[in-house]
């Protein structure tokens, strides 16, 4: 989130293209900074908030006097900021009647709102009260109806009830901001004493964000759809590699984090947020947990659009958007992989892509803080929305329109370091050999000792490939072991690759590299073999697609006649004699 200085700099920027919204701010403490932060944050959300700021401590005068500046200004939105500190001050001054303090305050507010409503057809945003525990009774204050803490909390509840009744009243939950960031960050005593401001500089952007998101919701700026990745987002682990019995959900590993995450998704779905899935997976594999895993909270019925394939995610999200027919600016995309997040962010303007923390345990708290799903209405009918979209998805079996794949790949600026096995990459090679299931042609597993042995032998030619692009380094992602069959022919003993880099033209680059190497060493043929397993269906036609010819259960490629396949990966070759 931008800090206050950055928001202030926004004030000098050009708001001309944005919609103007007239907002009045009335407060019982100094509100200059808050006003600046709100207007500055409006810029972030493409809103030109024209703000009338009443003189300090003029809530009553502005509202009760029909000829006040407030009414002259004719705001569409009125923000009422009554602070806990002033509330405490009023409580302190009272000689008696502390037990009905909250009720009296509420009646006063209700009266103000009536007056305001008679003069103006404006929506009112009213902050609730972050807690101050004056520690007069200790925890026993919870049992003393006349204690300040009791009355403050009671007033917050009464505000909620009032807002349920009054159509034009909306509570901005300052109290929940304090709960999240802590009182020490919300309030700085030295500033309060010097300036009458109750919000610390650090808290201003938080309060502004929460306020502006309500104003945004008045304008219809609301998130309606949550698109969720599967592996390491919906559950822990990789379904294609780990299998249904090993993904982490429920009791297994850090499954608790994902279970709680899923309950959150379900609550959102029940309140009308559309859930969609966008995952790089084979569809049947990706669906299995939703149908069969006993600990899954989210079921297939909860999902409006389910997209699992190996295409790029920006295209898949465009496809989801076509079916749902809602704006990209009302979509949120959750993915644990920074690469996918960047692709989507760069290619889909308007979509919200939270920068998820690395540790899944922190996903939920982090997302709570972003307040992604502000709304200003709720009806029971929202729950039925998912069903409607599911039907629409079935109807809409249109062929997906892809962005120009070539342009996309070129833009990635991919570089691959090609190296034989060495003592630095041996552990990673062995690890990948144990773990790769899907993109693995023969699924022969090698240990570190095996890897070392082959790197010493003249009969084996070994290759490792890394892949780096403008978004970051994927590290070592592909391993090839060529075995000398005879003077003419090299056998591809091992070809496995991480599924993270599918659809990047990496296969073509690898084959080009292999053929070039074979030619230089005087080999006429490359031979490949596909050994089917339960998990490597995706590479069944791998060699056919690359131009190999089938012969006696093996796949043969003639090196002399081979024309390089198109690739946008640049080579960085190391140590090949």
């Amino acid at each position: 989130m931008k800090n206050f200085t950055q928001l202030k700099k926004n004030l000098k920027k050009d708001f001309d293209a944005f919609k103007k919204i007239r907002v009045a701010v009335l407060g019982d403490t100094a509100t200059q900074f808050l006003v600046q932060a709100i207007r500055g944050y409006g810029y972030e959300e493409s809103m030109d908030l024209e703000i009338f700021e009443a003189e300090f401590n003029q809530i009553e005068r502005q509202i009760l006097d029909p000829s006040s500046e407030l009414y002259e200004f004719k705001p569409e939105v009125v923000i009422l900021f009554q602070s806990s500190h002033k509330l405490l001050g009023k409580y302190n001054k009272k000689k008696d009647g502390h037990g009905t303090f909250a009720a009296d305050q509420l009646e006063h507010l209700n009266n103000l709102l009536d007056n305001l409503g008679n003069q103006l057809n404006a929506k009112v945003i009213c902050y609730n009260f972050p807690e101050i525990d004056d520690a007069v009774y200790g925890s026993y204050a919870n049992q003393i109806g006349s204690s300040f803490l009791y009355q403050l909390r009671s007033l917050n509840i009464k505000l909620m009830e009032l807002a349920e009744d009054r159509n034009n009243l909306f509570i901005c939950d300052m109290s929940s901001i304090q709960n999240r960031i802590g009182k020490e960050r919300l309030f700085q005593a030295s500033i309060y004493v010097n300036t009458e401001m109750v919000l610390s500089i650090d808290a201003l952007p938080e309060v502004a964000a929460k306020t502006v998101s309500i104003i945004g919701a008045f304008q219809g700026k609301m998130n309606k759809c949550l698109i969720i990745d599967l592996d390491n987002t919906m559950w822990g682990g990789v379904i294609g590699d780990d299998g249904i019995e090993n993904i982490q959900i429920g009791g297994l590993g850090i499954g608790k984090a994902f279970t709680e995450f899923q309950y959150w998704f379900r609550k959102l779905k029940n309140r009308g947020i559309i859930l969609a899935i966008c995952s790089k997976n084979t569809e049947s594999v990706a669906l299995e947990p939703f149908e069969k895993h006993p600990d899954m909270v989210i079921r297939k019925d909860d999902i409006a659009v389910f997209v699992a394939n190996w295409e790029n995610k920006a295209d898949n999200i465009r496809y989801i958007q076509e079916i749902l027919n809602i704006g990209f600016d009302s979509m949120v995309f959750l993915d644990d992989n920074p690469f996918e997040r960047n692709i989507v962010r760069e290619n889909i303007p308007g979509i919200t892509v939270p920068e998820l923390p690395e540790d899944p345990a922190e996903y939920l708290e982090y997302l709570y803080g972003l307040n992604l799903f502000e709304t200003i209405s709720y009806s029971g009918a929202d729950e039925k929305r998912t069903k409607q979209y599911q039907v629409e998805a079935q109807r809409n079996q249109v062929k997906k329109q892809y962005v120009n794949e070539e342009e996309f790949l070129k833009s990635l600026e991919m570089i691959s370091v090609v190296e034989p096995f060495n003592k630095f990459n041996t552990p990673r090679v062995a690890q990948l050999s144990q773990r790769s299931n899907q993109f693995n042609l023969r699924t022969v597993r090698y240990t570190e000792a095996d890897v070392e042995r082959m790197s010493q032998s003249d009969d084996f030619h070994t290759f490792t490939f890394t892949l780096e692009d403008k978004f970051g380094d994927n590290g070592l992602i592909c391993v090839i072991i060529l075995k000398k069959e005879n003077e003419e022919s090299l056998f591809i003993d091992t070809w496995f690759m991480s599924c993270r880099v599918l659809k990047r033209g990496m296969e073509n680059f690898v084959l080009n590299t292999l053929v070039e190497y074979a030619r230089e060493k005087g080999f006429k043929y490359l031979q490949g073999e596909y050994i089917p397993t339960a998990k490597n269906e995706m590479v069944r036609d791998h060699y056919r697609n690359l131009g190999f010819k089938e012969q006696d259960g093996r796949w043969i490629l003639e090196t002399a006649s081979y024309q390089n396949n198109t690739t946008f990966v640049q080579a960085n070759m190391k140590i090949y004699g």
Partner: protein
């Protein structure tokens, strides 16, 4: 840290806050010498300086400084 170094770092905070590369502080600089340095932005500066130097000023100190030099002296006593 010496006072000269503190002045240099404080200068950077001012430049960032007021978005003005031309600000050059001396020990004698007062609020009147810097455009936009009023009682409100003063608070913003105080908080930024507190953060940068990892100090906390008392409410009395915030009101007491006559010029930048006095503020720096205050930082250096912490």
């Amino acid at each position: 840290m010496d006072k000269e170094q503190a002045l240099k770092e404080t200068n950077e905070i001012f430049v960032d806050m007021f978005d003005d590369e031309d600000i050059v502080l001396s020990y004698e600089t007062t609020a009147e010498d810097v455009e936009e340095w009023d009682s409100l932005t003063h608070i913003q500066l105080v908080v930024a300086i507190e953060k940068h130097f990892k100090v906390r000023f008392t409410s009395k100190e915030i009101q007491s400084w006559q010029n930048v030099g006095e503020m720096l002296d205050c930082i250096l006593t912490k």
